[in-house]
């Protein structure tokens, strides 16, 4: 589905990413965590070809990619319907309505982004990411700057879509708990552990949220293995 083998990515003569290699198949959910400036967003830019200047190869077995950015990035002059339709390759309004209904947004079709709350705008961005049923979904800190209940509810919507359409997902996040509770694999970027993929639990592709005590246990294990990764600095 996705094969990544990045030898080197420089930015202003500084090595940002070195020797990053991993594969993802349909249904995989990988979180990438690491401190600011470690190259998390750069990695997503390489995958989307927004940045093509690197040594290595990226093979994607998919015609389209769905992406959620740090901001909803909806075009303010288009309605919700037009914002999704602009990337929709089928033009099937029923299908768009189906996805909007899944996240409780079916009544917003003709609303402009300025009339949507932060959470609503991100749900539109979520529907836009899935409208072409891409085999690969990229999420660049999509829950940042949302209040906790909204972020959790949006995560539920995301997991509902993932369960229904089974794409490979890469989530870039600063939030340790978010990474552990949502993903099956975690890739650390930055510092000595760069490139390491930590596979934890959920090997049966289950997207069930982990029991909180279990999360704590995994977190403590990770922190004991990599004491320099301090919570809150990620």
């Amino acid at each position: 589905m996705l094969n990544i083998d990045i030898k080197n990515k420089k930015y202003a003569d500084k090595n940002i990413l070195q020797n990053i290699g991993f594969n993802l198949k349909a249904g995989d959910f990988l979180s990438i965590i690491g401190p600011s400036g470690c190259g998390k967003t750069t990695l997503l830019r390489l995958i989307t070809s927004l940045d093509k200047d690197f040594e290595g190869t990226i093979d994607i077995d998919s015609n389209s990619i769905g992406m959620m950015f740090q901001e909803p990035r909806l075009l303010p002059w288009l309605t919700v319907r037009e914002n999704i339709a602009i990337v929709d390759k089928t033009g099937d309004l029923e299908d768009m309505l189906k996805l909007l209904r899944m996240v409780g947004m079916e009544n917003t079709l003709d609303m402009y982004p300025k009339n949507l709350s932060g959470g609503m705008a991100r749900r539109v961005s979520l529907v836009r990411a899935f409208i072409n049923r891409p085999k690969l979904i990229l999420l660049d800190e999509p829950f940042v700057s949302l209040d906790r209940p909204t972020a959790l509810s949006l995560q539920n919507d995301l997991m509902l879509f993932c369960k229904s359409f089974n794409p490979a997902v890469i989530l870039v996040t600063h939030d340790f708990d978010e990474a552990i509770s949502l993903s099956q694999k975690i890739l650390f970027l930055g510092g000595e552990v760069t490139g390491e993929i930590m596979t934890h639990v959920n090997e049966n592709n289950s997207f069930e949220t982990l029991h909180p005590t279990y999360v704590q246990e995994i977190k403590e294990n990770i922190l004991s293995l990599h004491p320099h990764i301090l919570e809150g600095k990620l």
């Binding site: 989307t48 927004l50 990619i65 990035r73 075009l75 303010p76 002059w77």
Partner: protein, 246 residues
């Protein structure tokens, strides 16, 4: 809304009253009162002469507008997006911006002949650089994050241009169109005065030779009325339609 309309109409009539007052005090044939100008306007309209010349000037203005805007927008987009194109054309642009309109008009008449074609080309050459500068600045101010959405989702070039670029550039385009129209018709009058035998510019030069200030003002007002109509019935409705998302 009705309040702003009152102000518009009120200030207009105040200006007319002021003009009438000064003309009354001056009592000179070179400073005619608005009533004389109005009756001269009616006379020129009723004998058909004004409408004929107005039509010709309007035709020239619209041809220039229809060519200058798309050319300017296209080059503005290219220069704003591609550094190499910008570097290659920048000197030419500065030259175009600073070349006196009069020189361009003279050169066009000499090189291309005293024809409508050269008149129109001369004004297009005068106008295009200004549109380019506006649009190029607009492209630099674009929200690149929205453009990235287009690239990630691989939208067609057509959609990229008309859904992502043009709406963001719209304030720059409408500003270019508005000041473009006012500039174009001013230069068209000079072009007509210098080398055409019809159009408002030509008529003005004739009236000037006879010191017929009343007719000069009547002709000028006829065109100002047209510009006001264009502003109110074309630009404002388009503006309102395209800005409804704001």
């Amino acid at each position: 809304m009705s309040n702003t309309l009152t102000w518009r109409i009120g200030s207009f009539f105040l200006l007319i009253a002021l003009w009438q007052g000064i003309a009354f005090l001056a009592d000179s044939s070179v400073f005619p009162p608005p009533t004389n100008v109005l009756s001269s306007l009616i006379e020129h309209i009723s004998n058909g002469e004004l409408l004929h010349h107005l039509g010709i000037t309007l035709y020239r203005v619209s041809m220039i507008f229809l060519f200058a805007m798309p050319i300017g927008i296209a080059f503005g987009l290219l220069m704003g997006n591609f550094k190499k194109v910008d570097a290659a054309l920048d000197t030419l642009l500065v030259l175009g911006l600073n070349m006196p309109a009069l020189v361009v008009i003279m050169l066009c008449y000499i090189w291309l002949g005293l024809s409508d074609f050269s008149a129109i080309v001369a004004v297009i050459i005068n106008k295009v650089p200004m549109v380019i500068v506006n649009i190029r600045e607009g492209v630099k101010a674009l929200d690149k994050r929205l453009i990235e959405v287009a690239y990630v989702y691989k939208v067609s070039r057509y959609k990229l241009l008309f859904t992502f670029y043009i709406p963001q550039l719209y304030p720059y385009i409408i500003a270019s169109a508005r000041n473009g129209l006012s500039l174009i018709w001013k230069i068209v009058l000079v072009v007509e005065l210098l080398g055409r035998s019809d159009g408002i510019g030509f008529q003005l030069s004739m009236f000037f030779q006879f010191f017929d200030i009343t007719s000069i003002l009547a002709y000028s007002f006829s065109f100002i009325i047209i510009i006001i109509l264009i502003e109110n019935f074309i630009f404002r409705p388009i503006d309102a339609q395209l800005s409804k998302w704001r």
